[in-house]
């Protein structure tokens, strides 16, 4: 199935080449946000701001929630300023 992935800042580089800040991504049915983050190669030791369809998705839920077709997953740097 396909989902939409949006990124910001330096995280753009983890999207397929030429995507800019967002792309459509083919993922397996039953997959979780955490699995998609792994598939894209985001380093597991870093912190991220993760949004699912416009809502903040706390770290504890990222490995549990199952994604549906056309979901919009946002992956952003954790913090601005510091």
């Amino acid at each position: 199935m396909q989902i939409k992935v949006k990124t910001g800042g330096l995280l753009r580089r983890y999207l397929p080449e030429g995507s800019g800040s967002q792309c459509e991504l083919d993922v397996a049915a039953g997959t979780t946000p955490l699995a998609v983050m792994g598939q894209l190669g985001l380093p597991a030791e870093d912190q991220y701001l993760v949004m699912l369809n416009g809502e903040v998705l706390p770290a504890t839920q990222r490995g549990e929630i199952v994604l549906s077709e056309n979901d919009e997953l946002g992956l952003f740097p954790p913090l601005k300023g510091g």
């Binding site: 800042g9 701001l49 903040v56 706390p58 952003f76 740097p77 913090l79 300023g81 510091g82």
Partner: protein
């Protein structure tokens, strides 16, 4: 009404003062765990540059300032919060109860997991105590490596340069200020720093730090190494939320708050570096670890705590920096806005750069380099969402006319028509 404020940085202090102004009768306890009078981290660079003394870092002056306001200052650390019992637990002071609570515990400096980061001579520049240590360890000619060329890193860079040290800045990303500047701006700042005698190593990883006699040996990813006296680490900050584990107060990276700065628990609020709250332009809950957000959060949280319902529009991410005399600034969605236009103008030789991003005919983001007068104007245009009308096309052709656009569209003057 009994209020407890945890954290006595700018967010906590402004909240306590606002509470007093709004409710002359309430009880206010301001708890901080650093053994200092409430101070501003922002002032640390000036302390290091020796343009102020320690008193100058204090947020408020006059020994009796807090006493006169009836704000009870407590030096202690909160280790847990129990929302249902409306109580907090302190290391020294046992339990304290509240009607309303503000979490304003700020953030701490994060250190990358590199061998040797715990050695003597490897410092953060986050607390007043850090400032004292760096001041004691560095003098003219000291060999210093600064890890991290982000916003705080570049502020610290300026302070270290003012001490006359022999300075090398190491940044893992491929440019300086990777999270606040694009390549064009980041490259200009790098060239500027190099022209002022600072060595700048971008796209360089520190692999390890080891003790060699009295000095430190710092090794880089390309196999090279250098001997230095002090390493200052400015590689990011993390919100202080650890003590909330198990409290039921909802956290993500920071404490999640709504447009009243309230958490998921009634009567418990959060503000400043620790709060993850709505951003002005998108509504996305972000952490903006900057002083203007801390002040604004503190004030609005306190109004709500005191019963004056106040809606917060959201914070604007904004960084203004002076690096060895070159002023740079970034605002909002400088990195572009889906479907919106953008324009930029660069003059590398004179270190000037301006980039504007739009949503329809409203500016939603900007980068500026070498343009000091534009800072307030750009901030105003973004914060008030000024519709530019036909001025947008003029700006697309020449972004430097932003001052004219501002005057024309906000003061109704005939300027430029």
């Amino acid at each position: 009404m009994k209020h407890i404020v945890i954290g006595n940085g700018p967010a906590g202090v402004i909240a306590a003062e606002t509470l007093r102004r709004t409710d002359p009768k309430c009880a206010i306890t301001l708890i901080g765990d650093e053994p200092e009078a409430p101070y501003s981290r922002m002032a640390l660079p000036y302390l290091l540059a020796e343009s102020i003394n320690e008193d100058g870092t204090h947020l408020r002056h006059g020994a009796d300032h807090y006493k006169e306001l009836g704000i009870d200052i407590v030096t202690d650390q909160v280790t847990s919060v129990v929302p249902d019992k409306r109580s907090v637990t302190l290391v020294k002071g046992g339990e304290a109860t509240f009607d309303r609570l503000l979490i304003a515990t700020g953030s701490h400096a994060a250190r990358p997991p590199i061998p040797g980061m715990d050695l003597d001579g490897v410092e953060n520049c986050w607390t007043l105590e850090d400032g004292r240590r760096i001041a004691a360890a560095t003098k003219k000619g000291s060999r210093v490596v600064l890890m991290g060329a982000g916003f705080i890193g570049c502020i610290v860079l300026e302070a270290l340069a003012a001490r006359g040290v022999e300075l090398t800045v190491v940044e893992m990303e491929d440019r300086m200020l990777p999270r606040m500047m694009d390549h064009t701006g980041g490259e200009m700042i790098k060239r500027w720093c190099e022209s002022k005698g600072v060595t700048v190593l971008t796209a360089t990883k520190v692999e390890a730090i080891e003790q060699t006699g009295k000095a430190l040996k710092i090794s880089y990813g390309d196999g090279s190494s250098a001997e230095v006296d002090t390493v200052v680490c400015a590689t990011g900050v993390r919100p202080n939320v650890g003590f909330l584990e198990g409290s039921g107060i909802e956290t993500d990276l920071g404490v999640l708050v709504d447009n009243n700065l309230q958490t998921n628990k009634d009567g418990i609020y959060a503000a400043g570096d620790v709060a993850q709250g709505p951003e002005l332009l998108t509504g996305v809950k972000e952490i903006h670890a900057i002083q203007p957000t801390a002040s604004e959060h503190g004030r609005i949280a306190a109004l709500n705590m005191a019963g004056e319902a106040t809606h917060y529009r959201g914070s604007l991410s904004m960084n203004v920096l002076n690096t060895l005399g070159l002023v740079s600034s970034s605002f909002g969605l400088w990195d572009g806005n889906e479907g919106g236009d953008e324009t930029s103008l660069a003059d590398a030789d004179s270190y000037r750069y301006l980039r504007l991003t739009f949503r329809d005919d409203v500016i939603v983001g900007a980068l500026a380099l070498g343009l000091t007068h534009h800072v307030g104007i750009i901030r105003g245009l973004i914060q008030t969402g000024v519709k530019l009308g036909h001025w947008k096309d003029r700006l697309m052709k020449d972004p430097n006319r932003v001052m004219e656009a501002y005057l024309a569209r906000t003061h109704g003057s005939s300027f430029g028509y």
